[in-house]
């Protein structure tokens, strides 16, 4: 009875057939090449930054292994790298060894920039590979999110969502950002997206809707709800078990009254849950959950029965909680959750590599930079440091003025979408 995920014979994504496939393959290889070159350059810069710390100055210090770990998992290893740099700097100053300190400050930003480049190239390569698989008819997950989600801090949630749903297939989403996040997946230009949305929905294995009061298409007063729900394509899919709705915790019954109080959305004193019910009540005759409480997912299981996917403890952590919530959907699709032990094994191997890498000769790819004029050696790291600081300040500012993830009672719509009396 389970509709085990199979190949989609009528993939809507084929544009020019073989030409498109070869183009994606070329892009993927180019991206892999850029990623390898950037990682090599970044590793070299890191090795030069820490070269004074190897027992033998001609050898790569063990700490360079941290850079490799950072490339693999940027978020976690950032903290490790930062802590290590702080410790080394402190020791350095204590030893009154100013030369090493300046070398550190010079080469670390270059290593960071190359590391970012390597990460981005890797994510683009992965996205091209996934798109190529979809072109061949592989199953995929469609993740429909409001464009305003780009401006919120949903990166970790979306990365975990994509990771948990990976056993089904790659995830397709609409995104406006150039820098791919960890959830970097197949993306389409919004015009192409608009043309193909119906086919994309029809052929997806699972469609996840990120429920928000507005789609964020900059049509004040018009797009109060998802356009897709107005389409017959979605309604026809409801009994098939493909549709999963995601409500941010507590939003189902809190968000719209809060927005109403801000004077931004005028659809009455109702809830998002009631709005979904109003639109779909003809198609879904089964009893709806009266309250979601802290549950976040609503699944239209076969027969179009809206079933809450349960309340799981936050202490499980973001990924395990998502895995527990989406367990019935994965079960329905006939796939098993991805095992964690290969990732743990890889991390342990990297730690071992960090101890062993001290035996490797230092790379000399950037050694020519030692002969550069002094002003260049001063200006380039300074510019990179400035860029990094400005980037961080901008991010902090965006966090401050943007969405507040956890404070639902004081919910304020993003200022980009805030308007009064029908005027932006």
């Amino acid at each position: 009875m389970n509709p085990t995920v199979g190949r989609s014979n009528a993939s809507p994504l084929i544009i020019d057939g073989l030409v498109q496939y070869l183009r994606l393959m070329l892009l993927e290889f180019v991206a892999w090449g850029v990623a390898v070159m950037a990682a090599t350059a970044g590793g070299t810069a890191a090795a030069m930054a820490f070269s004074g710390w190897a027992l033998d100055s001609n050898r790569v210090p063990p700490v360079a292994g941290l850079f490799v770990a950072w490339l693999i998992e940027r978020t976690r290893s950032n903290l490790g790298t930062l802590g290590l740099v702080l410790v080394l700097t402190s020791i350095n100053i204590a030893r009154e060894d100013r030369n090493n300190l300046f070398r550190l400050l010079t080469w670390i930003p270059i290593a960071l920039v190359f590391g970012l480049l390597a990460l981005q190239a890797y994510r683009y390569a992965r996205a091209f590979r996934d798109q190529r698989r979809i072109e061949r008819g592989s199953p995929y997950v469609l993740y429909l999110r409001p464009s305003m989600a780009d401006h919120g801090s949903f990166g970790r949630f979306e990365a975990n969502l994509v990771s948990v749903l990976r056993p089904i297939g790659p995830t397709v989403m609409l995104s406006d950002t150039r820098l791919l996040r960890r959830s970097g997946v197949v993306r389409y230009h919004w015009r192409l997206w608009q043309e193909r949305i119906a086919d994309l929905i029809q052929n997806a294995s699972i469609v996840v809707f990120f429920m928000m009061p507005r789609r964020g298409d900059d049509k004040p007063g018009e797009d109060l709800f998802w356009e897709e729900f107005e389409q017959d394509a979605v309604r026809r899919l409801l009994p098939s078990g493909k549709i999963v709705l995601f409500f941010r915790e507590g939003w189902a019954n809190r968000c719209l009254p809060c927005i109403n109080s801000n004077g931004t959305v005028r659809i009455g004193d109702t809830s998002l849950m009631a709005e979904v019910h109003r639109i779909l009540k003809d198609e879904v005759s089964a009893k709806w959950p009266e309250e979601l409480r802290r549950a976040r997912f609503l699944w239209f299981s076969p027969g179009a029965k809206p079933q809450s996917l349960g309340e799981f403890n936050e202490s499980l952590g973001s990924r395990r909680r998502l895995l527990a919530e989406l367990g019935p959907v994965l079960d329905y699709c006939g796939v098993r959750p991805k095992r964690d032990w290969p990732r743990i094994f890889l991390s342990a191997s990297l730690l071992g590599l960090m101890l062993w890498i001290g035996n490797l000769p230092a790379p000399s790819g950037l050694a020519f930079a030692a002969d550069w004029p002094r002003w260049i050696k001063f200006a380039v790291p300074l510019a990179i440091w400035l860029w990094l600081v400005l980037k961080g300040v901008r991010k902090l500012k965006r966090e401050y003025y943007g969405w507040n993830d956890y404070d639902y009672d004081n919910f304020v719509l993003h200022r980009k979408y805030r308007f009064k009396d029908g005027k932006p």
Binding site: S285, K287, R293, S301, Q307, S308, G327, P328, P337
Partner: protein, 183 residues
Amino acid sequence: MGVIAAAVGLVIGAIVVTLVLWGFNALAMYGMFIRETSVVSGSAIYRDSYLGVYLQVDGVVHDVQIVEIAIHLQQARKAGATPPAGFRQVETEEPLCPSDRVSFIPFQRIPPRDLTGTGNTLFSGTGHYVLWCGQFRVHHGPPTVLKIPCKRSLDEPPRIGIRYRYRVGLLAAEEYRGVEAGE
């Protein structure tokens, strides 16, 4: 002398290791006892031929096993639910006694005073709930699925409560909770 020194060293080492392990054990137990969230959480989902209860373990615990399942009587009848493998139905009309069934409440909304009275509790098998007893182990990792055979699925959220036991180090503990179904 060398043998005696080695033996003394071994004994001291064993004592130190034991004390360290006890320390970790005590820390783990303390951490588990002060936590507010329950050890097992889950969701109940109707499928065509069974009701799937997806259970997830959290925390530094081991040997987690479900010992009792309560399902709403009317729902069980309408769905044609039968006890899952390893469980048997318990026919009881007696109210649950708080002294020997301390934690047996299906939903945590019930105030504790309901347990102290002589009257029936919501979960005492007095016509509202069906009680199944047995053993079902729940493992760490991806959710463990407890399948309750059903002849048909219903159009309303399932109302299910579970009681489970687990071990934290040297101690055993017991908890109960309703499997949240978004009702």
